[in-house]
Symmetry: C2
Subunit: 367 residues, 2 copies
């Protein structure tokens, strides 16, 4: 049996413990049947360390649910976790993947929230979603409607949730206000664009320059992006033209760090906030002293996993968020990022594509 307890030692020396959750397999319990999972026994190159292997499923407890996973994405954090470079790491061996959607096959005698056929997503990260079947405690799951596209359900619990929280929890944004974000074509970035557009919030979207910049620009504009610019443009006079049309941003969303973050800070309004939720450039966030003192900008971070834990006993708020996101999805206002479905048996292709630079198609494993 394996209770996925995780500890980490982030490079700043801070030790954080991921709370024990309950993705279980067992060789000792009465055998129900076998599952197949992408397991890694040591950290390293995902292409090398991840192996598709059989796992025995435990007998179903009274408060447990047997789930058939339907689809699970490969997110950058999942890759970093396998590589051992993420700030929180599982005990090994571990099953890869932190989000995805499954269908309830069977429920224990005391389970009241779910019925066979329901679509469910994990409430928390760290459960190992790259597998065919698994047994989870009832309280570790959230129901999602089964009338939304599979890819939307599979990618609902991390990126769109991160986007909606960052747009809501730091600045009181009103229609006409603006937001600037880097890595704007990431899963979170695309969700930010779409959710902001529904609220009448203008977005300035920064992406790395690339051969297909114009195509990407048009795609992001089709989602509702007001401005799409390159990292280089952040320093250039053309920024002034943008601010003839829309106000300076009250909120900056930083998934990159380094220069990109510092440049975004320069464009923030007096009193604005920069929320860091990723560090793709692997460089720290640097703020001029004068921005802090005289411009009163605030810097903070956001981690969806922490938010969910902080709100563990407020199911209402979590359900409300999921429900409002599903409503946007049904209205066609929130699309899944461009994606490719890959059978789990062909996981090596999916991993390879997921790790390509400028990868613009989310790899989703289907089981």
């Amino acid at each position: 049996m394996w209770h996925a307890v995780k500890t980490l030692n982030a490079h700043n020396g801070y030790v954080c413990a991921l709370i024990a959750k309950v993705a279980r397999y067992s060789v000792s319990a009465a055998l129900r049947k076998e599952s197949v999972a992408l397991v890694y026994k040591s950290h390293g190159d995902p292409m090398q360390v991840l192996k598709l292997q059989k796992l025995n499923l435990p007998a179903l407890g009274d408060s447990e649910v047997l789930i058939k996973m339907l689809a699970a994405p490969i997110n950058p954090a999942d890759i970093n976790m396998v590589q051992g470079t993420y700030a929180v790491l599982p005990e090994l061996p571990a099953v890869g993947g932190n989000e995805g959607v499954g269908q309830v096959l069977e429920v224990g005698g005391h389970v009241t929230s779910f019925r066979p056929g329901d679509w469910v997503i994990p409430r928390d990260a760290g459960l190992g979603t790259w597998r065919k079947e698994l047994v989870l405690k009832e309280h570790a799951l959230l129901r999602v409607p089964s009338d939304i596209p599979l890819a939307c359900a599979a990618t609902l619990s991390v990126n769109p949730c991160t986007a909606i929280r960052m747009l809501s929890d730091f600045e009181n944004l009103q229609p006409g206000n603006s937001v600037i974000q880097n890595a704007a074509n990431s899963g979170v970035g695309q969700a930010v664009i779409q959710i902001a557009a529904t609220k009448g919030i203008k977005t300035i979207n920064v992406v790395r320059n690339r051969p297909n910049f114009q195509t990407l620009t048009e795609y992001l504009q089709s989602l509702g992006a007001d401005y799409v610019i390159t990292e280089e443009s952040l320093r250039k006079p053309e920024m002034k033209d943008i601010f003839k049309n829309i106000p300076h941003p009250r909120l900056a969303l930083n998934c990159v760090g380094g220069k990109s973050a510092t440049e975004m800070l320069r464009h923030l309004q007096h009193g604005g906030t920069m929320v860091t939720y990723g560090g793709m450039a692997k460089q720290p966030v640097t703020a001029p002293v004068s921005s802090l003192i005289f411009k009163n900008v605030k810097l903070c971070g956001f981690w969806m996993t922490q938010w969910k834990r902080d709100h563990e006993h407020e199911m209402g708020e979590l359900n409300e968020m999921i429900s409002s996101l599903c409503s946007l999805i049904r209205q066609g206002k929130l699309k899944a990022p461009a994606y490719t479905e890959v059978p789990i048996t062909d996981y090596k292709t999916a991993l390879e594509n997921a790790m390509k630079p400028f990868s613009s198609s989310k790899q989703i494993l289907v089981m």
Copy 2:
């Protein structure tokens, strides 16, 4: 006539306007009498550009107060303002100095808040306090009790106010909690030590290493400092010993920037805040992405001048702060930093001493 309107262009490109205040002199108005002031007509080396010169005082308006300045300190920000390196700069020519205490000599017919003999301090920065006499609007002044030491009154409006606000406005500190600060022997630093001690808040005080480190340590301990360490010690294992006795700080007060700030961040508690109020190292503040995301630390800034402006219409809060500080002073719990009184005519000596590295005696000009 000269309404001290100031504009600046901080190096981050942000333009902030210091609101017009009313330190006046005039050659055209009916001559009352002359004052003497330390005036600079261009930015540069304070030893070169500051000149003691006569200024004519304007006739006293109905809502105005004629003040004889008693004492005014030379603060680092005053020096930077003369040098032209501070983020906010006055229109030139300007009179140096931003705080100090004066005595009311005469009041206009409509003035109700003050009487001759009262001690007053300017409500805002930028009035030019290095002078013998000046005329100010009634609303530009605050009364302070005349039973506190002159040096305390002269240095009340910036450093102790900054200290008390930073200890109150960012984290809800309880007795037994701890605070870490660099530049701990600065005027603000000494006030932080003393005010924290009255609240049962533990202080970890970081200073640059120096020949008289032991003497300085003993002095800061006499004010109530719990720990005094050098910048180098911030990285060393001895820090662990401190945290056997007191909790990791919830609040870091940063007057330095650069490495010092990053090192303090490492010791912050999960969810803690670093408030930047100065940048002595002339280096930006750098935070690891993981501290922001996984440790949830927050970075912000504090500028007393801005606080006063934001609270311009809340005289109650400002008066309450001054009154509680004066109460601590009377109880002997808040001393002025070590200081030297220098006649304004000997301003060159005072400036020279104020600009020495490791200067440990505040220079106070007396008129």
